[in-house]
Symmetry: C2
Subunit: 358 residues, 2 copies
């Protein structure tokens, strides 16, 4: 606990930047004595916000960045050209080992592209997934992957399952995380080619508690702890999740405001409804971690308020204190896996070369 | 209007069969004078239900089927071996031209497999999609495909967009249906290979009103009329949609029943909440049509009550009266498309053959 955890925070990212980002950072510094933060952003704006608070000045640095990556910019271009942006400079601090993690509520695409390009993967990790925790009727579910890994190989889904299990066991205290593969039906011969092949790999993996295929409807019911899928499907699930919840809550509000009687009733149920809304509030869990990097990148919601930034910072502390990246390396035997893959690739090349020489 | 529409109904399919299926069928017969129905199922059970009602006996036939395909059976096997099941016999009536359509609340897999294997595709249709209407904040959205077409080609998604547009224009009175492609972001270079290639095809198609990529969160917001996607992703969206709505409504109920004050409030808002629940009740729109077959197969929800069966039967009448299959053939120029594909395949073969001969 005595070691410091140093996190770079994108002060310019998201709808409520820099005010809520700075506020959340200050709150986290106040409650976590072993946290150090570098706030990356336009220094004048950041300092103007900081003036509103008292905070441990020895644990907060402001890193001036003249550029901001906007939400709609093509991510890879933005990462390559905006060298003086808060996202690029924040990620570089992680790459250079000066920071342990980077938190942003800005462009998801830029965070994902930058995580891969600038921070880089742990040796042996094929692709780094983005893995948000989704609220459910019971405990939260880790949906892995929702990121930028389009058209993945089945072996990548196996790694997602392994990383997800390690994360849930060590970060969320789930003793034996149930892993489900998102599919169109529970029978193992169902699904597209990716799901069919991934099913076999998951079934044969001794390190995870694979409970089989699940249908997407079972995610909100909370029947698994880790829901494994490809990023395209995961993105569709995540966005549908958020969209349906938002539309229903909006309709409920309209319904309650539709007349005098319902307005009175609304006052009567307000505290109970708040409790329910809190249960389905994903920001309680912090942001979505991008796993498998040499460090940690946490993507908070674009509409993050101070509380989500504060929770994301706590997540970074837990991630380091629980040695998650070291657990990935050892428990997933990444060195051996990488060596095995190299040998397999060589073995494939040998007959081809032999044929050429013949 | 004078011509009869003859529909085969699976009396044994779904959680509430045969009682609710028979009830819904009788209600449809009573309100639609040009409807004829063949109820396929265990005759004794069906007749026992029919005894409870008075109905136009000249427009209702009972077809005895000794077998029932259960929900969990492997679909293709079930279709091949259970020749005397209500699903196989009902679909055969469509294949033989004795019925225009088949309605089932039974096994989705068996209905989809049977639709392809027994009824068969319209010439020129590459794959028949399953296309449910989803309730939204505004008008319903047709989600196409949610069916059994795993790993589709981009040209199939183009046909889904065309069929979806024709369906929404002629069945739901949407003048110029907005077509969106489900993707991880709005920029056209985003997504997996399938989405990228499909985007180009949709963009170049003059017959549809393509509004570009949409994120899944925009579906419940109702920003398009037709949401095009592959069956795997569509299934994940549909199931997430249903799952999240169910869990939230369940939580709301629990919240309202949690104390005396909230219980009183619940009574006060009950009528308003019912209106809201009705708005999000997919059964209002009948079942999900499987499009592109020589006939129509409608898959109602497994928990269908009489009202959904009644609505599904009306859907079959509208489908025939609006000549949807004929519109598919003419507006999509299916004969020409099939010929063009044949020629393209031949042209591909020629150089290969020439190379072999050289």
């Amino acid at each position: 606990m005595s070691e410091f955890v140093h996190v770079a925070v994108d002060a310019m990212g998201g709808d409520n930047a820099p005010a809520e980002i700075v506020k959340g950072t200050v709150e986290a510094l106040q409650s976590c004595p072993n946290l150090k933060v570098t706030l990356a952003g336009r220094e004048d704006q950041v300092r103007a916000e900081l003036k509103k608070f008292s905070y441990p000045e020895d644990r907060l640095t402001v890193l001036n960045c003249s550029e901001v990556i906007e939400m709609a910019e093509p991510p890879v271009d933005a990462i390559r050209t905006k060298k003086d942006s808060s996202i690029v400079k924040g990620l570089r601090l992680v790459k250079d080992g000066e920071c342990d993690a980077f938190v942003t509520a800005g462009s998801t695409g830029a965070a994902l592209a930058g995580g891969q390009l600038l921070v880089g993967r742990i040796k042996g990790i094929e692709r780094p997934p983005l893995a948000p925790l989704l609220p459910t009727a019971g405990k939260p579910v880790l949906l892995i992957d929702c990121g930028a890994n389009m058209d993945p190989r089945p072996t990548m889904l196996l790694q997602f399952a392994q990383m997800g299990s390690i994360y849930m066991r060590n970060m969320c205290g789930v003793a034996n995380p149930r892993v489900g593969l998102v599919n169109v039906g529970t029978e193992e011969e169902k699904g597209n080619e990716l799901a069919k092949e991934a099913h076999q790999l998951l079934k044969e993996c001794p390190d995870i508690n694979f409970v089989g295929n699940i249908e997407a409807r079972e995610i909100p019911e909370g029947v698994v702890d880790v829901a494994v899928t490809d990023a395209f499907t995961g993105n569709a699930i995540l966005k549908t999740y958020e969209g349906v919840a938002k539309v229903i809550m909006h309709e409920l509000k309209d319904t309650l405001m539709s007349g005098i009687v319902t307005k009175i009733a609304a006052l009567m149920i307000k505290p109970a409804l708040k409790g329910m809304a809190k249960k389905f509030d994903a920001s309680e869990y912090g942001g979505a971690p991008m796993l498998g990097l040499k460090g940690l990148v946490v993507k908070s919601h674009g509409n993050s308020k101070a509380s989500e930034i504060r929770n994301s910072l706590k997540q970074c502390i837990d991630f380091k204190e629980n040695n998650i990246n070291e657990l990935f390396r050892t428990e997933m035997k990444l060195e051996e896996a990488a060596a095995a893959r190299r040998n397999a690739a060589k073995a494939k090349e040998q007959p081809a070369k032999a044929a050429e020489q013949a």
